[in-house]
Amino acid sequence: MRNVTHLKLHEKAVIKGFTDEVLSVKLMEMGCLPGTEISLELTAPWGGPIAIGVAGYQLSLRRTEASSILIEG
């Protein structure tokens, strides 16, 4: 299944679920809820963090964290 790290820059997708429970709660608090539309906004060089647009703001997270967010579309 695709996750957020598979997105291309500025590509949009809808959050489907999470692979990590503890992390998912933190992400949901920040507005990353299942069914929410997100888009990939920025990527730091050399495998650094990425930033996604979610709920009207930008959220940065590491790639390992981003890979726990499953997407569809």
Binding site: E21, V22, L23, S24, V25, K26, L27, M28, E29, M30, G31, L33, E41, L42, A44, P45, W46, G47, G48, P49, A51, A55, G56, Y57, Q58, L59, S60, L61, R62, E65
Partner: protein, 703 residues
């Protein structure tokens, strides 16, 4: 606190919601920074006069996204709100929410509302919301959320008076909770409510969720809660997950009903700036340029105010010396206390400048981009993107820098950052470097355009950075931690900094430095003064006679005085210590005189220059760099008959000062931040060992 307070109000809200700007607007300059009882988190509070004449104490709680804390700073929010006996437990809460990003901001609001503390919801940044073409039905929103709403714009001050008027009115707490948390764990909640005599379901539920974290509960109480949870099959994370989903479902419905948005999402200014600022080439170039600018400011711009402070403190000392009758008290005040104070206040310009820059970068939103860019590099050395701020701050002073590590979520990352930050060359090392470089490095250019002295100075700064990074890398393997490191961080939109906020941050950081470093440095200065002014035995007590015997007949009064103070220092307790450690420092090329300076430098590095000038009996009135330099240049090593201050000795000393842990105030802060003597102790041993070995190697390479 002098003024009587009739009401305790707490400001709560998401980071970047304009909460601190609102706090500054409400309290003006009538604020103070203190500590929350028992913990190390800074408490910012201020007085607010309400329209009905009552005085309220307003506390700015750290920004947080939810009542579940992720960092040490956030934990205080939860403690203050959940513990009804906490001295800061508010009578009224102002929840500040970013109107342009309401759904996420309302999560925290609904959690606080369910604790049943009277509250007001401030919708801040209304201008931004309007620019995003959001249309609010505030009356209906207020009814749906069950709270009074005040729209504000904390940048222009619109809505502040309305807010004050609302605070005067009686705020009713809603009868029904916003989110029926009881459905999640009815039995657990009921039992905790009856055991702890609580009224609110959500408070009881939070006791269950957070029992191990809440410091106001006793060990037995935590155990009791654990027992209740076990009996009822309460699992923290899945329940929390359900709660967050449930709250968001309700919030979404309300927000969608009351806020209309016209789809107008063109490429915003923030996105356009980000394209450049986080670019893989320009991004790093911009960050490097900003660092260079800060560097330049600390060196060049801070120079004249520092000189001004130095002269005024010297004048003050001379004035007191003449105004008071001569004697021990006089010496204690001038040579002990004023000298100690001078050593503290002289660094204010550098610290103020550095924190002015850092505050500007944070206010504008740039700092989180720097953190974003640097995380990958920092992580490979066991640090965190968020370590950037402490490390940069460490170039001015390690004390506020170490305090700035509090927003690093992971304990391991934070500990490593605290551990390595003192390696960054702080402003107190600068006077030592300057003196020694002037002494042993010739003033000439290499390759035609690079100033050799400047090159050596830059290398010393890089050496500190290198030591910090390598030590962090080593610690990454030594420290074991089961805790995970997270990097979930909001990138706020860019905005123009508010000068008032920058000014207040500068003021706050400078006062923190003056008090934290000040009390230790002044205390140590007094101790050192005693050690250097008193000594055992006949040689110290009858110093005049001995000096008279040694000096030629033709010596002037001044020469006698200088020789006398040098002689006294040699035979004082400090001098004895210097001689005692001489064998240990001999391999580094040092003698007992430098030994005294090393001992006194333990209070604060810059004391080196003052001690050296006393030892070489340079009169107080000619204590400027040039005379010290000339005097040291002429100093002969009795063992070799050559110059004492050879390049080898100079470099060895510089390297020693670059690495050694010579700052009591830093140790005190590390003690406070790590809650124990273990880490300050390890840090001292480690840094001293690195300093010793590096100085030893340097001395042998150059001689």
């Amino acid at each position: 606190m002098a003024a009587k307070k009739d009401l305790k109000i707490a400001l709560v809200g998401n980071p970047n919601s304009g909460k601190t700007t609102l706090f500054n607007l409400l309290t003006g300059l009538k604020q103070k920074t203190g500590n929350f009882p028992g913990v190390t988190v800074d408490k910012k509070s201020g007085m607010l006069k309400l329209p009905d004449g009552r005085i309220a104490e307003l506390t700015d709680l750290p920004g947080t996204y939810s009542i579940y804390p992720k960092t040490l700073d956030e934990q205080i929010v939860q403690e203050v709100l959940l513990d009804q006996d906490h001295p800061q437990h508010p009578d009224v809460i102002i929840v500040v929410a970013d109107a342009s990003n309401l759904k996420r901001n309302l999560l925290l609001f609904t959690q606080i509302r369910d604790l049943n503390i009277p509250c007001v919801l401030v919708l801040n940044m209304m201008d931004l919301a309007e620019r995003r073409k959001l249309k609010f039905d505030l009356r209906s929103l207020a009814i749906d959320l069950g709270v009074k709403i005040v729209p504000t714009n904390s940048r222009s001050g619109v809505g502040i008076e309305t807010l004050k008027n609302v605070l005067v009115q009686e705020l009713k707490t809603p009868k029904k909770p916003f989110y029926p948390v009881k459905d999640l764990a009815e039995q657990t909640i009921e039992e905790i409510k009856s055991v702890f005599n609580l009224n609110e379901d959500y408070r009881a539920y939070q006791y269950a969720q957070q029992n191990v974290r809440l410091s106001f509960l006793t060990e037995a109480q935590r155990e009791e809660i654990e027992e209740i949870k076990r009996n009822n099959g309460f699992y923290d994370v899945p329940t929390q997950s359900q709660e967050v989903l449930g709250r968001y479902a309700l919030i979404s419905e309300i927000v969608d009903r009351n806020i209309k948005t016209e789809q107008a999402n063109e490429l915003s200014l923030t996105q356009r700036i980000d394209k450049i600022v986080t670019h893989k080439v320009f991004g790093y170039a911009i960050f490097a340029a900003i660092l260079l600018l800060i560097f330049q400011a600390i060196f060049a711009w801070a120079e004249w105010p520092m000189a001004l402070i130095e002269t005024s403190m010297a004048d003050l000392s001379t004035w007191v010396k003449e105004a008071l009758p001569a004697g021990v008290i006089n010496d204690l005040i001038t040579d002990g206390i004023i000298a100690g104070l001078a050593g503290v206040v002289v660094f204010i310009p550098q610290i103020a400048l550095l924190f002015g820059f850092i505050s500007l970068l944070e206010e504008s939103g740039y700092m989180s981009r720097a953190v974003f860019l640097m995380d990958r590099i920092m992580r490979s050395f066991g640090l965190n993107g968020k370590s950037v701020v402490p490390l940069v701050s460490g170039m001015a002073c390690a004390i506020p820098a170490i305090m700035a590590t509090r927003n690093i979520e992971s304990w391991k990352d934070r500990l490593i950052t605290i551990f390595v930050t003192p390696f960054m060359s702080c402003s107190a090392r600068l006077p030592v470097y300057t003196l020694l470089i002037a002494l042993v490095v010739p003033q000439k250019d290499v390759l035609g355009f690079i100033n050799l002295q400047g090159l050596v100075l830059t290398s010393l700064y890089l050496l500190g950075l290198l030591a910090a990074i390598l030590s962090a890398w080593v610690m990454k393997f030594i420290l074991k931690s089961r805790e995970r490191s997270y990097f979930i961080m909001e990138l706020p939109g860019y905005k123009l900094p508010k000068w008032k906020n920058v000014g207040l941050t500068i003021y706050e950081k400078s006062t923190t430095f003056v008090f934290e470093a000040g009390k230790v440095i002044v205390a140590i200065s007094i101790i050192l003064w005693v050690l250097a002014s008193y000594g055992p035995g006949e040689r110290f007590n009858n110093a005049e006679e001995f000096v008279l015997r040694e000096l030629p007949e033709s010596a002037t009064e001044e020469e006698f005085e200088n020789a006398l103070s040098a002689y006294k220092l040699e035979h004082s307790y400090a001098g004895r210590f210097g001689k005692l450690i001489e064998p240990a420092i001999k391999p580094l090329g040092y003698d007992w005189k430098i030994g005294i300076a090393l001992i006194t430098s333990f209070a604060a590095r810059e004391v080196f220059v003052g001690t050296i000038s006393t030892i070489y009996s340079i009169g107080a009135d000619e204590e400027d760099e040039l005379t010290i330099k000339e005097k040291l240049a002429k100093e002969i090593n009795p063992r070799t008959g050559e110059k004492m201050y050879t390049p080898a000795l100079g470099f060895s000393l510089m390297v020693f000062y670059a690495f050694a842990m010579q700052c009591m105030s830093t140790l005190a802060v590390v003690y406070r931040e790590t809650k124990g003597w273990k880490w300050p102790f390890i840090q001292t041993i480690y840094m001293s060992a690195v300093a010793y070995l590096a100085a030893l190697a340097t001395y042998n390479i150059f001689s």
